[in-house]
Symmetry: C2
Subunit: 555 residues, 2 copies
């Protein structure tokens, strides 16, 4: 049995190796159009910033063995052909036509089963000047080498796109001492990952590292004399010695499409839960194919190195006659930018509303471990839930603390369709160096339960701001301590510290709407309960407190 795998990165390399282990009789050939195989493209920003010193490390096993042709032959029992492109799949005759540019030769390879792992390519915006020298993507080892050469302290870089790769590259170039501007067409950083109020917290952090962030900004062209010098946008010109295109990726589907394989509505290769394409004996895995979002049940295009590895294993097993299933993903994404971590799993509020859910949300900032433990760092969680059944639909988390842990726990809970009630009772590990007695996620789930049951009534910072701007007659009640109020405050808010609220009820208007808030919203919620108990009826607390207020503060 001969298995041919097209594409020798995460998915393809995994599929080939796994197929050989499952069926040692099988003859496995791994074909790649590039020179370098099985490298960690996700590591490129860390190579650029010198966090990873040698490019070889991105292409090596954890014990330092280079994953090259010899490695695949000797260790994995897999033949690798590099610098050779699969140009035509003739599935009726189970044959692939190959083109080797260096030798200028065409050849053919027969297969019993074919695995397409053709990956993705950076989107290149069709703008004038895109071909200028100094404009680069973040995908290949060649890109990595070029970026590292160009990342010179004091020079100017412009990164187009504030998505995951864009922001990782922003960090890398800034750490190299470059003056960095990031341009995002949409109105926030990490669109599609974070809701806007969460994105604002990240954006502030990025700006605090001297990076200029331009959102809702459209690039019209690039200018320069051979080498790029300027990025022209609808918000003005940006001088740039280096331009990085990080406006997203698209699946490489031309080989599949030309062969007549079904392409899904997402633009990626359509596969079933066994990663079979529409043509018998052809599988697809990794960045070239679509998958299922386990929350919505919809087909999505969500390329990710982690998913590629899992899918490679499944495709490899099935190609040699096994019966493995890949059900889908929950849309987890995570990124570190300077000293800030930001992650998402499941649906954002925006995505959940767009999908038609009746949504409840919680904004909950808190230290990531026992507050008295000196390493404790703040993180903000945003839970998104389905009001109908209390099911958790998504979690976003940002901050300098352990965001990744809460994202992974929520990804697991969402996979099992957990409700707020179930999340609030998870037996998560507790010791002061790791978490508070009530983990951030438990606290957030408890707030969610309070909201779903009607005990707690929240209002988002956005809505509060809108009410202010509309001149609505309501009282914004700050229940923090005088010392906290002194440090920073929201203009127009009245201070009545929680500790004296029960004694000062007479000073508050019973006929007016009152919005309570504190640092993080827990005292705000206590205040709501105290006021409700005292007969005030129109009380809400501001989600997330002053810590998630994305507008100006008096200091």
């Amino acid at each position: 049995m001969r298995i041919v795998v097209i594409g020798a990165n995460a998915a393809g390399a995994k599929a080939a190796s796994k197929a050989k282990r499952v069926n040692p009789e099988a003859e496995i050939t791994l074909i790649d159009r590039g020179n370098f195989i099985s490298y960690g493209a996700c590591g490129i920003p860390y190579y650029v910033s010198d966090t990873v010193v040698e490019v070889k490390e991105l292409m090596s096993t954890p014990v330092g063995v280079l994953r090259d042709q010899v490695f695949f032959r000797k260790v994995k029992g897999v033949d690798v052909i590099t610098e050779t492109e699969a140009v035509v799949v003739d599935w009726r005759n189970k044959k692939v036509e190959l083109w080797t540019a260096v030798s200028g030769t065409t050849s053919f390879i027969d297969y019993d089963r074919l695995i397409l792992a053709t990956g993705s390519s950076p989107l290149i915006p069709p703008l004038q000047g895109s071909e200028l020298a100094g404009i680069v993507t973040v995908k290949s080892i060649e890109d990595a080498t070029f970026l590292k050469e160009q990342a010179v302290s004091g020079k100017r870089a412009c990164v187009i796109g504030a998505g995951l790769i864009g922001l990782e590259t922003v960090e890398a170039l800034a750490l190299c001492g470059m003056q960095v501007t990031v341009v995002e067409m949409l109105g926030q950083v990490l669109p599609g990952v974070l809701d806007d109020e969460m994105a604002t917290l990240l954006e502030r952090h990025i700006q605090s590292h001297g990076v200029q962030v331009m959102t809702s900004c459209r690039v019209s062209c690039f200018e320069g004399n051979g080498h790029v010098e300027k990025v022209i946008t609808d918000q003005g010109e940006i001088l740039a010695d280096l331009v990085v295109l990080a406006a997203g990726v698209k699946p490489n589907v031309s080989l599949a499409r030309n062969a007549g394989l079904e392409i899904g509505a997402t633009g990626a290769i359509a596969v079933d839960d066994h990663l079979r394409t529409s043509v018998p004996d052809i599988y697809a895995c990794g960045d070239c194919c679509e998958t299922t979002h386990l929350v919505t049940g919809k087909r999505v295009y969500a390329p990710m190195g982690s998913t590629a590895n899992k899918q490679g294993r499944v495709a490899g097993i099935n190609a040699v006659g096994g019966d493995a299933v890949f059900n889908g993903i929950v849309g987890t994404a995570i990124v570190k930018v300077f000293d800030f971590n930001a992650g998402k799993t499941g649906l954002s509020e925006f995505a959940a509303r767009a999908a038609g859910y009746d949504v409840e949300i919680v904004l909950s900032p808190a230290p990531d471990r026992a507050h008295f433990y000196p390493d404790a760092k703040p993180i903000v969680l945003k839970l998104v839930a389905d009001r109908e059944n209390g099911r958790l639909l998504g979690l976003q988390a940002v901050g300098s603390g352990a965001v990744d842990k809460r994202i992974d726990v929520a990804a697991t809970a969402i996979t099992f369709r957990a409700t707020a009630e179930q999340v609030s009772h998870l037996d998560l590990g507790y010791a002061p160096p790791f978490a508070a007695a009530m983990d951030n996620l438990i606290v957030a789930a408890d707030i969610l339960k309070n909201k779903l049951s009607g005990h707690a009534k929240g209002v988002s910072p956005h809505e509060v701001k809108k009410k202010m701007e509309a001149g609505e007659d309501f009282l914004l009640l700050d229940v923090r301590s005088p010392a906290e109020h002194e440090m920073m405050r929201i203009a127009g808010a009245k201070l009545v510290p929680l500790g004296v609220l029960r004694d000062k009820l007479d000073s508050l208007p019973k006929d007016k709407e009152i919005v309570t808030f504190c640092k993080i919203s827990l005292r705000g919620y206590e205040a709501q309960k105290i006021l409700n108990a005292a007969g005030f009826s129109n009380i809400r607390f501001m989600d997330g407190g002053i810590l998630t207020w994305p507008y100006e503060l008096e200091k």
Copy 2:
């Protein structure tokens, strides 16, 4: 409606506050025999080591407000009576008799609903000399103050008990510069948490910090002239200026038992899933009551600050007429000791076998993030699964890296009765600063799948050692590189690097059992597959590789 809560720490304080929020009409009285209330006993070791500077921090909210009587009155609307012990519960007349030692007065309080949150007490071994000065437990604020005074650099401390609190205290005292010995009656550190091979890894780390670890060691008495000077054990005398008793805790049930409430087989107060005791209108929560282990379905005593908070909320809601449920725990525990983290969730292999499961295990060491990322630190995972259905029963994790994340994810997965297959496809967050493309847990679950399906055949380091000692005729095959072999090796193992194995098959005996291994077991598994494919039939790989070999190595 009057709610009386006995015990004003985690569970009691939570229950009282929650009850008031749910029913502001209710009159809530919180009674504690101590002087200090609502403090974080789990923080004591960090106060002792000066990681936490002021004892006040352990009794304050995250914004620094002292959780004292005034706080509970003003903020929570709860009356607190301290230094007053509940001595008799007369449930027929719904009355509690109170004794206030300072004033020498007896009084009575009526209740409509009573919540027992009487907590736990350190076990004091009934040994001669236990009453000597300088012998202390780790429970009260008074203990904390005493320990901090006594923790003097250069002096000798002996900690009795190598459980969670014992080891946290060992770290604290060693960080203060004391010469520390820890004595454990059982054969390993963290008995009941870790299996022995995992405990060995932690024990080595503790020893590397200059702490003497004495396991399988029984204390017979304490000696000293008024103040403790020596701990006498069956392994000899230990000089000690300070002795810490950390041999576990027992639930405080005398009040409940004397009142005729049912005490469970675990010795703790029996409660149902609504935390109702056997007597109407009396609830119990926190360290004084038992709970259900969600894996075995059995009643267990598993006191933990995190559980106490969750149960307090449930008891508080139910006491004022609500309908909240606490289903149970999965036995999660975690501890930091010096630069090492150790955690467990679900069942250990030992506990799973004792419970009658047909067990499969995986030992999987790996870096906790992308191996090329400089902050990557090693962690070792041990998965325990049910062979019958592939369900994950437990995870243990030790190492200097992010153990807590994997424990929490596994705790969540185990709560939802996840199988190896489901765990292996979890959509966990991936970016190089947080995880490898295949997270440690995914890798371990894949190995588990390989074992459950019969593709991979493992043998534990323990079994290998036994085979060696029994003089069995088998070949131990090291498939690492010559450079790795040079650094450290298992005596008697033959070196054939994986990269040349396919070429050297003739040098290996086909009729003999071969046990393969590498650094972590992945190449060991590859070697097993290569040998199987070449017609060798009796091949297993050593679980966890040389990194989890708990015996001597040649260097």
